[in-house]
Symmetry: C2
Subunit: 148 residues, 2 copies
């Protein structure tokens, strides 16, 4: 049990996570700035739109959306509020459960997502590449991209 490379509570998990944090901070910062500058949209808003566009009927329960974007329930309430104020989504009552609320993307929301999608993918790949140039992160990026 001791030398099996299962790496269950391996101390190198810390090293892995440290590199991952650096990578995450770097990439997320770039994405945030690029989307805000070029598309006038926040990163959370973009991801929410993405989830909605890809969802069946372009709608999701608030709760499901929360899990998909990795935010808390209350944050999503306000996130959808922002999308509504921007005309990118609206709320719709769930017919069979009046407590439930659907967030639904609008046509304009779809357009904004389509417009931002290019920027997102370009900046993402570019950020991963520059991170991969850093010797400390090169291995991590390679691992992720190679899939093993």
């Amino acid at each position: 049990m001791t030398t099996i490379p299962h790496a269950s509570d391996d101390s190198s998990d810390q090293a892995i996570w440290r590199r991952l944090l650096t990578l995450h901070a770097h990439v997320e910062r770039r994405l945030t700035q690029a989307l805000q500058r070029k598309c006038g949209i926040g990163l959370s808003e973009f991801r929410a739109l993405e989830c909605l566009v890809q969802a069946k009927d372009s709608e999701l329960r608030m709760q499901d959306l929360a899990e998909k974007v990795g935010l808390g329930q209350s944050s999503v309430t306000r996130l959808v509020g922002r999308l509504f104020s921007a005309g990118l989504a609206f709320r719709d009552l769930c017919p069979d459960d009046k407590r439930g609320v659907y967030a639904v993307v609008t046509d304009e929301g779809r357009q904004r997502y389509a417009a931002a999608r290019g920027t997102y993918s370009e900046v993402l790949s570019a950020a991963l590449n520059t991170a991969g140039a850093d010797p400390a992160l090169a291995g991590t990026v390679r691992s992720l991209r190679s899939g093993f």
Copy 2:
């Protein structure tokens, strides 16, 4: 140039990043809650202490600390302020450059870090394991842990 597997602007970068975000959100949330509950310390504070403890002379320039913890410069000003209020660190003027400020960890800071370190590593490994149990993330976790 077209079929070379350099994966420069490969569209699968998006898939990679989506999994990474889910993993990141999951693990960071667990770490935040565990450290706050069991150790009464924030995640940023813990990471700053870690950087300081491991640094030469237990001190770092604000700027260097900012880069290490992946925060903006102004955020680190307040982060060190919090550490000071908690008695875990203090500021020291740089003798050769009076603009510069060193953040220096105190003995109590070292103790708090030592006390929290166990919780951190345990929760981290546990969170990675539970994430690895999710089929969607298993591959990512394995990739990171195997190093390739």
